[in-house]
């Protein structure tokens, strides 16, 4: 029972990280309807920016800002330099998806040239394990979960109570109708990419601190976990995705306690495949989504 509770506790931490990464992914998908295969690499960019800031100053706030700025910049570059020209060409959606694949390839290899391929350690000051109720967490774990709740809460406020949030929901519901009724379509898409990149950069920072180190493929290897959370929760649905992250995070940690740690990611991938095959619209979604497009 203690093992189960402890692994659920670790699962909550993993879920917080996955939620930060996958809600951003899902938000971007809801507006552009193309999954971003380079999303994991934006996490990596954020993590390396934080590492760069750490070598200059040991100020955690500076590291966070570096990660958020770098992530937002990377996502905006992807949107402005590649997505918008290809969308203007009316390229088929699969070509646009391939463009994000290539962007990921480029990002990974540029990082490889700049920082080298060997794993770098990335650690934040930690207090050791603390008992919180039945769970066992470090202070970083607790801060991770608090930051996830705060960020997702602010996103909720942004989507629900601001004019931008209303425009974003309008674009995601029906882009043509939104455009016709005077919603600044292009600006909404650009801000969404920026938000997506900023959240992804922060998620990369948290992920690197959680893993304790980083390699140029850190985010890429986390990409399918993010996909899994988004699809299980309902792709393009930020709220469902947060719940999907909870399911995936806890399932991964429980599996690593009871099956084998090496298979924890395979469990997430398995859930992804099952979700896509059985219920592609997501567990927490009722409407039909036409996936045959």
């Amino acid at each position: 029972m203690t093992v189960l509770l402890h692994s659920v506790g670790f699962g909550l931490v993993a879920a917080a990280i996955i939620a930060l990464g996958s809600v951003a992914f899902s938000l971007q998908f809801s507006v552009t309807t193309t999954p971003n295969f380079a999303h994991g690499d934006i996490l990596t960019i954020g993590a390396y920016a934080a590492l760069g800031a750490q070598t200059l100053t040991h100020n955690i706030a500076a590291e966070v800002i570096a990660a958020v700025v770098a992530g937002g910049l990377a996502a905006s570059i992807l949107n402005l330099a590649l997505m918008e020209p290809f969308l203007k060409l009316r390229a088929p959606r699969i070509s646009i998806f391939l463009v994000t694949v290539v962007f990921g390839l480029l990002a990974q290899n540029i990082i490889l040239i700049v920082f080298g391929g060997s794993p770098a350690t990335f650690q934040l000051p930690t207090s050791g394990l603390i008992h919180v109720g039945p769970f066992l967490w470090t202070n970083i774990d607790i801060e991770t979960m608090i930051s996830a709740v705060v960020i997702l809460g602010s996103l909720h406020v942004l989507l629900r109570y601001t004019k931008f949030g209303k425009s974003l929901r309008a674009v995601s519901d029906n882009p043509e109708l939104a455009r016709v009724t005077g919603v600044p379509y292009r600006r909404v898409v650009r801000i969404t990419w920026l938000l997506d990149g900023m959240m992804a950069g922060f998620a990369g920072f948290i992920l690197a601190a959680y893993v304790g180190g980083l390699t140029p493929t850190l985010g890429f290897s986390y990409l399918v976990v993010i996909f899994a959370a988004s699809v299980v929760g309902g792709l393009g649905r930020p709220y469902g995705t947060a719940l999907g992250a909870l399911v995936i995070g806890v399932a991964m940690q429980v599996a690593s306690a009871y099956v084998a740690p090496d298979y924890s990611e395979s469990v997430a991938f398995g859930l992804l495949i099952v979700a896509l095959l059985i219920r592609p619209q997501g567990i927490f979604r009722a409407e039909i989504w036409n996936f045959a497009e």
Partner: protein
């Protein structure tokens, strides 16, 4: 130098077989498939454990299943069949409901699961270290010198690529090939003419799987060893690059694209002088070059160097000299 050039061209031809496999799946059937490179790996592993002698029963730590000590031809046949059956199983599940990007994500996750299982279960294919010693088929009989054997293998690969091209070209213009492309363009219209989209797609998926297995067989027979590092997801992206550059749906294009991507950009640049400012960055720069060329093609020439041929653009049966003669004779008889 000759040895190196022969090696580069051989690798490009081996990857060309894998590119034709992906071109059947993606170019013809329109399936955005990431599983193809996993099948190259499955083919390679299967061939190795069929050809190799049983794993030694001492504590060398070398463990793998089977070890049947069979001839290379048996190994290749079994590898191709295993890959075809695996494609049948995966395709029959995945092709039911998934399309395009979501098909890609599902197959991508399946590759990662397979990779995790093969890396962790060392009893299957010796885990992370991989299998080795499966190289140089037929040389126990031929007894060639290394450089002569290298040329022999190049000719073997060339013959196989030629055979595969001939076979695929026949399928391309066959009623099945036409139906497959019709389904890709308009599923409902093709179904209205009595073609079952699911069955046609599944056939293409299995054909592609068999070709991928053949490519894996050649790969492991040439390099002799295979381990999980040899099949990272990046390899599939390189195959996509080869097809997009060469020409999606065109088999000549797939071969040409493989020669450009694997021969020229990835292997051919070894002959360039190193860049002193960026030591150890060659591999990354090569990948970046492939990415940029692929982007340029997606932007300015998405159909590739050699676009897919259209039925209306090629000489039909009536323009065939023999058919014209037959028609002429029939016409004369009719007028008499």
């Amino acid at each position: 130098m000759t040895y190196l050039i022969v090696t580069v061209v051989t690798f490009a031809l081996i990857y060309a077989v894998a590119a034709t496999a992906l071109n059947v799946r993606w170019g013809w059937a329109g399936e955005f498939d990431f599983f193809v490179y996993a099948l190259v790996a499955v083919g390679a592993y299967t061939y190795a454990v069929i050809v190799l002698p049983p794993a030694p029963r001492n504590d060398t730590g070398l463990t793998y299943i089977l070890g049947l000590n069979q001839s290379p031809l048996v190994g290749a046949a079994v590898a191709v069949v295993v890959c075809a059956v695996m494609s049948l199983v995966i395709g029959s599940i995945a092709l039911r409901s998934l399309r395009q990007v979501f098909f890609g994500i599902t197959t991508f996750a399946a590759v990662l699961i397979l990779s995790a299982v093969i890396t962790q279960q060392t009893s299957l294919f010796n885990g992370f270290t991989g299998v080795f010693g499966a190289g140089q088929p037929f040389n126990s009989v031929l007894k060639l010198s290394p450089s002569a054997y290298n040329i022999f293998f190049l000719l073997l690969c060339g013959a196989i690529v030629g055979g595969v091209y001939f076979l695929l070209q026949r399928i391309f213009w066959s009623p099945y090939g036409l139906a497959l492309r019709a389904i890709r363009e308009d599923e409902v219209a093709a179904a209205a003419f009595g073609h079952d989209p699911y069955v046609a797609r599944l056939k293409a998926y299995v054909l592609g799987g068999a070709l991928a297995g053949l490519s894996g067989t050649l790969l492991v027979a040439y390099i002799g060893a295979f381990n999980p590092q040899a099949w990272s997801p990046i390899e599939t992206v390189l195959l996509f690059a080869a097809i997009i550059i060469g020409g999606t749906g065109n088999m000549k294009g797939a071969v040409l694209g493989s020669l450009i991507v694997f021969g020229l950009i990835l292997e051919g640049t070894q002959f360039l002088p190193p860049i002193p400012a960026l030591p150890n960055a060659e591999a990354a720069l090569r990948a970046i070059a492939v990415g940029l060329v692929m982007l340029a093609f997606l932007r300015w020439r998405p159909q590739g160097v050699l676009p897919e041929q259209h039925y209306r653009d090629v000489p039909r049966v009536r323009d065939d000299p023999l058919a014209r003669l037959v028609r002429l004779v029939a016409h004369r008889r009719g007028t008499q």
